[in-house]
């Protein structure tokens, strides 16, 4: 591509002079006006009075950040762990049901009536009950659990 700088006729006719004027003594006055503006801006930028809020702001910011992190972490974790806790609770209930199922009727009703099993059952009765309901091997396993 040819990027030659030959100025076309129409442009040449307009010339290279800028058609702009400036107010009289503009450049003589400019430095003083600029200085006045810089002084004004500097005054505006002077440190303002420190308020209590300025001291507390970093601490408040930190507290807000901790609160945000807590909310962002605690609730998702709680939501995730809740089903696991429920499962644990239901597993406890199931264990109780299993225990009750394995308790014989006499013991069960005695417990309900608030009687102490040991008060009513003698060692002989217990021995004969165990002999009748459990094998020696079961008893051995229970003892050595």
């Amino acid at each position: 591509m040819d990027f030659s700088e030959k100025i076309p006729a129409k442009l040449a006719e307009a010339g290279k002079e800028l058609p702009f004027a400036i107010p009289p003594r503009y450049f003589d006055d400019f430095p003083a006006r600029l200085k006045a503006r810089i002084d004004k801006e500097s005054l505006r930028e002077e440190p303002r009075k420190v308020r209590m809020y300025d001291y507390l702001r970093p601490v408040l910011g930190l507290a807000a950040a901790f609160a945000a992190v807590f909310l962002l972490v605690f609730f998702p974790v709680k939501l995730i762990t809740q089903p696991a806790l429920t499962a644990e609770a239901s597993s406890d209930a199931q264990n109780i049901i299993n225990l009750v199922e394995h308790v014989d009727d006499h013991t069960f009703f005695s417990l309900l009536e608030g009687e102490t099993v040991h008060d009513t059952i003698s060692d002989d009765a217990l021995e004969s009950y165990l002999a009748a309901n459990f094998s020696d091997y079961d008893i051995y396993l229970e003892i050595h659990k």
């Binding site: 990027f3 442009l11 307009a14 058609p19 702009f20 004027a21 450049f27 430095p31």
Partner: protein, 182 residues
Amino acid sequence: MQNSDQELTENLRKEETRDRAFQELVLKYQERLYWHIRKIVLNHDDADDVLQNTFLKVWRNIGQFREESSLFTWLYRIATNESLTFINSRKRHTLISMNDVSDYLKDRLESDEFFEGSDIQKKLQSAIVTLPEKQRLVFNMRYFGEIPYQEMSEILNTSVGALKASYHHAVKKVEDYISNLE
């Protein structure tokens, strides 16, 4: 000039010589920067605002000047950015509904009491405002300012090849625009 700019920069960094060095900097560059800005924003009042913003930025950021480029390039870059920021912010806040920057600039050109060009010069300015932003900048800097491409490349952070292409397209568009007006 190079040494003088270096000296000026050193004095601007030292607190005890800063005020005086800044005054020197303003006196040395105010005219060149003004005309650079005026070509972009067109209106004198706007150019005055932008020139003040430019020097204010220089005053605040002189500590960040790393001398990777010349002081002149750094100043021109700030002036260019301030001009474009000014146009875009004014365009946003204007009450008149305007489709693009060229409408805004045309309006500013027409309302400028310090425009004193001929008819053909007015047509040329009207043509320039229709150019896309980059082409407008390149055209103004090259055509009126006659800034070398290498310097323009540093100011606008664009390759010399891309700048030459932009200028070529801009000249063609301006010529076509003026021809269509007649």
